[in-house]
Amino acid sequence: MKEPFRILSAAAMLGYGFPVESFEAGMSKHPHLIAADAGSTDPGPYYLGAGKSFTNRTAVKRDLTIMIKAGLKAKIPIIIGSAGGSGAKPHLDWCTNIVLEIARDNNLHFKLALISADFEKSRLKDELAAGNISALDPAPELIVDAIDASTHIVAQMGVEPIIRALDGNPDVILAGRAYDPSIFAALPIKLGYDQALALHLGKILECAAICATPGSGSDCMFGTLYEDSFVLEPLNPIRTCTTQSVAAHTLYEKSNPYMLYGPGGHLDLRDCAFIQETDTSVRVSGSRWIPATPYTIKLEGARPIGYRTVSIAGARDPIMISAIDQITEAVSERVADNFRDLNWTYHLRFNIYGKNGVMGVLEPTPSTEGVHELGIVIEATADTQDQADTICSFARSTLLHYGYPGRRATAGNLAFPYSPSDISTGRTFVFSLYHLMAVADPAEPFPVTFKDV
């Protein structure tokens, strides 16, 4: 019988932090691996498009310092997935830079493996022409223009590139964009543990203590993989894992709780059993892995659509509130008319909090009846920052002084919380790729490089 394989998941997101006490409790259980996921598409397209991290550098450095010191001391690998958040080259470089700084600060020496997840546009165009790229419903079909316009295009790696990196016996692995469970599952799969159980355990561990109750993204979680099952246990005495909390996590951010699709196949959880092992731990069994042919990986890309400027204001006047739609429509017309000779292409929007500012078209009660104040966010997106600034500024000043029918408050229509009232937010991005690409060799697109630090 194989020795159980033990994994310490540091936090739901590298940089979200964790109590040192929880981490040390995990280390005292002699894990074979320390891992943390660092990425998500949840924060939207900006971070991938702009090559920026959505987590804070100081916070990431703090988490990594604790993880690297402990891993080196225990002589076990530390694996980070989707480094820098979106896992493209600038993100991986950003995270690598932090790791090198930690090594210098603490006089640490180790072998570092870097796995890149970027795709050249020329290759993607060839793959598209060869029929190897398909839309992931309900995303639109991919066109060459979307590839050309993208600033960064990555794919989520499976376990194979990480196994290839592990073959070089590194101490620390920083992976570019990775399917979240891959970083937890790669080493046990390499060692011959069951692929389905390893991936399912990884799927739960990637969110660390979110699968406990009370849940937290900023606390550690411990997983133990056996030949026929796995066990999850919290490391903080205030938390427990219950069958409900662990099963509930299987639902999280997934469209179908029974079928979890990933690189090269899917997990079928229809026959899973969740059993309360002790008061605080849960044992899971019955997960199945269904490989797909061909092996597909998920592409993600983002492209710039211009520059954005926003202005935040409030309205408390009931006459203004009751006529808000007519007023903003009239202001939009005034803006268009004023700059009609410039032939600018811009997007001007008044997002009205108190009406449908949160739910937009999904809002069942898009009415201002009974509402005593509104929050108004004026947003202008245009081809240049100067144009966006101009449209936002003009819309703001026009709305401030617009003489709507029945108005009593002739001194001004808006309450501004800030001076300056307008905020230029810079380049704006949208997702451009969310597609599947068939690959012959799942490790090939994700080259590994080693560095002696």
Binding site: L251, E253, P257
Partner: protein
């Protein structure tokens, strides 16, 4: 009998499932309530369309998940996350209409 969904559940939440889909999790207080609601088909495509102003095609699936005493609803996002016109990048505040949903259950 009419019963408020909020009175028989512990969790009602929404979140993106990738940038093109929005998913809702409804977790019941007991297996009994879960089974009653599922047996009555009390949360169906019509219910979801009515709550969120959707067409039936926009509702991708409604799946009971017994291990979590939960029903999961997944719909098409009105916009790809972060597109112009976005109001909720993470999709975490779209669940509110479910909180006031009343169900008709024969007990």
């Amino acid at each position: 009998m009419r019963i408020k969904l909020i009175d028989i559940t512990d969790v009602i939440r929404s979140k993106n499932a990738g940038p093109y889909e929005l998913t809702f999790d409804i977790m019941f207080k007991s297996l009994d309530w879960f089974e009653k609601v599922v047996a009555a088909d009390a949360i169906n495509t019509d219910t979801v369309c009515r709550l969120f102003q959707l067409q039936p095609d926009d509702v991708l699936n409604i799946i009971p998940f017994k291990p979590a005493k939960a029903i999961k609803i997944t719909i098409k996002r009105p916009l790809c996350s972060g597109d112009l016109g976005e109001t909720d990048v993470y999709g975490a505040q779209q669940h509110a209409p479910l909180l006031s949903l009343e169900l008709n259950l024969s007990v």
